[in-house]
């Protein structure tokens, strides 16, 4: 086939290329309910024939920005410009008419339809009522050949691998003559060889005059494919750099920021009183492997030990195995290989009650779903773990008066502010809900505490309180595994920091000496 050398139908002469940006965000701000500012005066522009990378950690605002570019959200301030003039993008439809297409992180394909049916969904080259499968299938085969993609137009989506599905999403955009393609973390679901194929397709697309906005938090691939890079951090666009002029170290520094905000100190720097390094860990993981929800391996040979009184932080960008790691230790997910030991003896996988009995306390990331039962009262939630053993009971009957008395004591101890032990947990503020979880987990005298993003979404006061509880708990000799995407939190509280990247621990460093730059490099896979 020699078809691939033809320029795409949208390729305009190269004379104007690069002068007027194909797409640009100018001072875009987006706020969500609850006061979260996902984008704060973000600006960037992508030229014709350019791969422009948006680089940032989770929560940096990349996905929100793309939802604005594709018309799913409307910006509260600022504007999107297409070919130099302001564009009204109030729906995905309008964005697509402007030539902007997104290949979503959560791919937007319909499982039960065929490849061809998905490609013509919402737009077809043929007007009129009829849909002719044969004709569309032929057209798809032609585009696939031009961009060297392997595609079976008749396959149903649910039969395809994630990498193949992504190819269909890209093909769909090309079928509609997309001039601007937004790829949202496209390599997450790809094998290395599929990534190579994707990159060569991307190069063909920009060679044909299209623009590609490439979203990622992985430094090596950004450096491999991008012409220019805009770094986003905490909702702001930090800077835009030429890919040729930077190295991974510089990018990592820009991505995670300089150092801890003023007024916060590293606990490790003051000598935290953890057990000496030679003492045996209260929680030990040895070569632990586990599969994710889709049966793909997500934890790879994780070995790690937490000593009594020690806080070990797990840093990493979300989706690198953190949730699965927490679930394995809490007994909610079976590991496929390796061993988990508590106090030197092995813990059976996939048995939450065994984990509880062995003294593992768990503060889950999903507070309202896994952490508490929102429609039950404070007292009932506090009883959830202890009903089997310590709850005040007379035969099979719970003695709720005495349970209320106990929970009043816990409410006082953990500063849970509500109208009483009968208040329903869903009526509580986020901070108070988290205190209920902590009160329940810590009142069982645990040996190990696994805390996943314990301060996420809490206000400053509640965050401080939760952090204080963690530090006190460690002081009493409990080993704590703190999993968080908030690097400041990790650095502030931990004695040691382990970085997870693609399910592996890529490094364990002493928190007192760890530099943000070094951690950022490891988190982005460049160490």
């Amino acid at each position: 086939m020699s078809g691939h050398v033809e320029a795409g139908p949208t390729s305009t002469g190269t004379a104007t290329a690069g002068l007027v940006p194909a797409v640009a965000a100018a001072g875009v701000t987006k706020r969500f309910a609850g006061g979260v500012v996902a984008n704060d005066r973000v600006s960037f522009d992508a030229r014709r024939g350019e791969v422009h990378a948006l680089l940032g950690e989770n929560g940096a605002g990349k996905t929100t920005l793309c939802n604005i570019l594709t018309g799913l959200y409307r910006p509260d301030e600022g504007e999107v410009q297409v070919n130099g003039s302001p564009a009204r993008l109030h729906s995905p439809h309008e964005a697509q008419r402007a030539g902007i297409f997104m290949v979503h992180q959560h791919l937007s394909l319909v499982d039960s339809l065929t490849v061809a049916e998905n490609v013509v969904l919402g737009w077809s080259r043929h007007r009129g009522l009829r849909y002719s499968p044969r004709q569309v299938e032929a057209e798809i085969a032609e585009i696939a050949a031009r961009y060297r993609m392997q595609v079976d137009p008749r396959a149903r989506i649910w039969q395809l691998s994630l990498g193949e599905r992504q190819r269909i999403d890209i093909l769909k955009a090309l079928y509609r003559d997309a001039t601007i393609l937004i790829l949202d973390e496209p390599t997450t679901v790809l094998t290395p060889s599929e990534t190579e194929q994707l990159f060569s397709s991307v190069r063909e697309m920009v060679a044909a005059g299209r623009s590609v906005v490439f979203i990622s938090h992985k430094l090596p691939e950004v450096l491999a494919i991008a012409n220019r890079i805009t770094i986003l951090r905490k909702g702001r666009s930090v800077t835009t750099v030429d890919a040729a002029g930077v190295d991974a170290r510089e990018l990592a520094r820009l991505m995670v920021g300089h150092d801890m905000p003023a007024g916060r100190v590293r606990r490790a720097a003051n000598g935290s009183g953890a057990a000496p390094a030679d003492q045996r860990g209260v929680l030990e993981l040895e070569s632990v492997c586990a599969d994710g929800d889709f049966g793909v391996q997500v934890l790879r040979d994780v070995s790690l030990s937490v000593r009594p009184g020690e806080i070990v932080g797990i840093a990493g960008v979300a989706g690198n195995g953190q949730r699965e790691l927490a679930e394995v230790i809490a007994g909610l997910r079976s590991h496929t290989r390796g061993t988990v030991r508590v106090d030197g003896s092995e813990l059976r996988g996939g048995d939450p009650r065994a984990a509880i009995n062995r003294g593992i306390a768990y503060v889950p990331e999903d507070r309202m779903g896994t952490g508490v039962s929102p429609s039950l009262s404070v007292t009932e939630n506090l009883l959830l773990k202890s009903y089997r053993r310590d709850a005040p009971h007379a035969g099979p009957l719970l003695m709720m008066d005495r349970a209320d008395t106990q929970s009043l004591a816990l409410m006082e101890q953990f500063d849970i502010r509500t109208r009483g032990p009968h208040a329903l947990v869903r009526q509580l503020s986020g901070g108070n809900v988290q205190k209920v979880v902590l009160a329940r987990e810590l009142s069982s005298q645990p040996r190990v505490l696994v805390a996943a993003s314990p301060a996420r979404g809490l206000d400053v006061g509640a965050t401080e309180y939760v952090h204080g509880v963690l530090v006190d708990t460690a002081r009493r000799g409990v080993g704590i595994l703190l999993i968080s995407e908030d690097l400041d939190e990790i650095v502030e509280l931990s004695d040691r920091i382990a970085v997870l990247y693609e399910g592996r621990i890529v490094g364990i460093v002493d928190a007192a000496q760890a530099s943000y730059e070094q951690l950022g490099m490891m988190m982005a896979g460049a160490a």
């Binding site: 969904l121 919402g122 849909y131």
Partner: protein, 319 residues
């Protein structure tokens, strides 16, 4: 069994199955858009009562009266469905609750019964009835004649609709979009398809077909009105959609199967076979239970193509 008996069974299966085909096609379209409408029974009753009322009131040639009656019946069903659409699509209340509420509201002791009394049509003998039309003069042929060529216009209409719906679903862009909306409204929305509009249109059209199915009872089967005369046909239509794996062609066969079970008691009795008729009239419901139980396992749902977003409201900026 002789040939006459078999022909009689098939003919009555078609008669009893036709309202199921109409209401079932309607529910199929509605469910394909991701909306579950449990108000079918109520919509059929409203179609039956309004259709009969109009046919009693209007003067003019019989065929014109009946056509107007059918249109009014469809309109009544569609209007009811519009309420369901507003509640479940715009306000996003629980679709099961909304549908059940409509069936109870319009049902045998509700609105349809009330308007029947107010209009005083209970006990009236119908002035018009849809008669059999001997198509192409082939009605006299043995066996196939009475089955294929000597039916009333409703039956021919239902056959046409089955073909039309199948063609619409699988060979038009709009049908493709409809399937996408029912499977994955988020993807459909991202593709620029107006999810709300698709759901409204197909819910209302579904209700109109249910109204038409109801009118078949009072305009064709027997031209009288009694409270709750659809006798659960709406529920069978809902079960039928699942039984048919959301496919119009299978639905036609299923409707006649259910129709045969409904009518088997009478038909056998008329031919001198003594069986308690209660046994046969309970069979469709028994089969409904069996089908529903079988189709609700997760494996079955995947394999038979339940619209993945069935019963789930869609809101863009959530989740």
């Amino acid at each position: 069994m002789n040939t006459d008996l078999i022909v009689a069974i098939v003919v009555s299966a078609i008669a009893y199955g036709t309202p199921l085909v109409l209401a079932g096609l309607g529910e199929l379209l509605t469910e394909r858009s991701g909306v579950l409408n449990l108000g079918v029974e109520g919509m059929m009753l409203m179609g039956a009562v309004t259709g009969f009322f109009v046919s009693q009131q209007l003067g003019g040639p019989g065929w014109a009266v009946l056509i107007v009656a059918m249109i009014v019946a469809a309109g009544a069903g569609g209007l009811m469905a519009l309420i369901h659409a507003f509640l479940s699509i715009t306000v996003r209340v629980n679709q099961i609750v909304s549908g059940l509420a409509l069936t109870i509201f319009a049902g045998a002791v509700g609105l349809s019964s009330y308007v029947g009394q107010v209009w005083g049509i209970g006990g009236q003998h119908g002035l018009h009835q849809l008669n059999r039309v001997d198509l192409l003069g082939l009605g006299e042929l043995p066996v196939v004649g009475p089955i294929l060529f000597d039916q009333d216009p409703f039956v021919y209409l239902s056959w046409g609709l089955v073909v039309l719906v199948a063609w619409y679903l699988y060979r038009t862009r709009f049908g493709l979009y409809l399937r996408a909306v029912g499977e994955s409204p988020r993807s459909a929305d991202a593709m620029g398809i107006n999810v709300t509009r698709y759901r409204y249109v197909h819910t209302v059209v579904g209700g109109a077909l249910a109204g038409l199915g109801g009118a078949y009872f009072t305009l064709a089967i027997a031209p009288i009105w009694t409270d709750g005369l659809t006798a659960g046909a709406g529920w069978i239509a809902i079960a039928l959609v699942i039984f048919a794996f959301w496919r119009p062609d299978v639905l036609l066969i299923g409707a006649y199967l259910f129709g045969a079970l409904s009518s088997l008691g009478f038909t056998l009795q008329a031919h001198g076979v003594q069986m308690p008729s209660e046994f046969f009239s309970s069979l469709p419901y028994l089969m409904t239970v069996v089908v529903l139980a079988g189709a609700s396992t997760t494996l079955a749902r995947r394999r038979i193509g339940t619209p993945a977003s069935l019963g789930v409201p869609y809101a863009r900026e959530e989740g």
